[in-house]
Amino acid sequence: MPRRVEDPNWTDPGLLVMASLAEGSKHGYAIIGDVEATTGVRLGPGTLYGALSRLEQRGLIEQLDSDDPRRRPYRLTSHGSAVLAERLEHMRRFAALGRKRLAASPTLGLA
């Protein structure tokens, strides 16, 4: 069954890349460094460019012009920003639901 776009797949490389690009345009190695620094996930170069190609195919990111063809930056499109916002909102609701249930649990309740 195809994954729905709003599924909370926390380690999806595409989501990590989009979240990184939400800060501003970056080239490939900068995305790897940013994702590792913020989430601890080390994306491999093949995984990164597989995700970039899928995101570009869906119109969620776009490639920017650059003098150096080996380090071309990418940025979120407006459609990509909307999709990212929707996914993050879905994840926020999911996290809130989990916290609420934990708090209500008599044995696992949060302090």
């Binding site: 080239h27 190695y29 460019y49 195919q57």
Partner: protein
């Protein structure tokens, strides 16, 4: 071989359109990451994924076309390689009849052979019709970019048949009773092993050239969407046949291993192709499902 050179080799496995778009960047980032087995493994796995699911920067009808081309050529290549695996498997369990295999193990083997023969007939007929369509159009327009990769497989098959004939002469197989180097039980001299190794390499090279040039001809020919859709349906048929053959081979090899008596070398000769068939079936099924989705709803489904 240096790591960067090894990475370049892996990059060559990626689809051409992916390399054109991301190749330089990917090589640079791989070098920036410092190499290592994790980077190498990541590149290799991603190359396989990119082959099975082409994604680069296409959408709409172009993306659908790319998806269907990929499904057709991927399943065709897997099927051609599987014929080699099936031949090896048959060599292990059939050339030396396994004592006691005349039961469900043999039944599975026979059913697998029938399915394989029928699927081969369908694929060869449809493939030949498509080949004619591509070649005739290329001859009319004088398009060498299509004609050369379309004609190359025919030349290679002729060359392979000639090589097989030379091997038969070299091993005296055409004169029974005088098997100097290779007998029915396999090579038993260093010369026999060398001949067999050369022949195996020659066969692998021929199959590689045939599948890659067919893929290129298919891409250059730019078949109409209905033709690509039909070829994808044939690819699904081939995938189903491949899955059925694999199931039969698994049943048969299980029975062979239960009975024993064919020797460790032949057991390995049987198990190796079955493992390949399992992987090829899974890859063909994945590619076919994606092709069917593209036929129904477009590549983004």
């Amino acid at each position: 071989m240096s790591t960067s050179r090894f990475h370049r080799l892996i990059l060559a496995v990626y689809p051409e359109r992916f390399r054109d778009r991301y190749g330089d960047e990917l090589a640079t980032v791989a070098a920036d990451c410092g190499g290592g087995w994790r980077v190498t493994f990541d590149l290799a796995v991603s190359a396989a994924k990119a082959r099975l699911n082409p994604g680069p920067i296409t959408s709409g009808s172009e993306g659908r076309r790319l998806r269907l081309e990929t499904t057709t050529s991927t399943v065709f290549a897997l099927w051609v390689w599987s014929t080699v695996a099936v031949a090896l498997f048959a060599r292990a369990v059939d050339d030396q009849p396994v004592p006691g295999l005349r039961s469900w193990g043999w039944g599975a083997y026979a059913v697998g052979n029938v399915i394989f023969s029928l699927s081969a007939a369908v694929i060869l007929i449809v493939g030949f019709l498509y080949w004619l369509r591509v070649v005739v159009a290329a001859v009319r327009t004088g398009n060498r970019a299509i004609l050369i990769p379309a004609a190359l497989p025919v030349a290679v098959v002729v060359l392979w048949l000639a090589g097989t004939g030379v091997l038969a002469v070299a091993t005296n197989h055409i004169r029974p009773g005088n098997y100097r180097h290779i007998t029915a039980q396999g090579p038993h001299t260093a010369g026999g092993w060398a001949l067999l190794a050369i022949y195996a390499l020659f066969t692998v090279a021929c199959v590689t050239v045939c599948t890659t040039s067919s893929r290129r001809a298919l891409r250059e020919a730019e078949l109409t969407p209905p033709m690509l859709a039909v070829s994808s349906v044939v690819a699904v048929t081939a995938s189903v046949a491949l899955a059925a053959i694999t199931a039969c081979a698994v049943i048969c090899v299980t029975r062979v291993l239960m009975i024993g008596g064919i020797g460790v070398r032949d057991e390995m000769t049987a198990i190796g192709p079955v493992c390949f068939l399992l992987l090829a079936s899974a890859a063909a099924a994945t590619s076919s499902v994606r092709g069917l989705r593209a036929v129904r709803t477009g590549p983004g489904a």
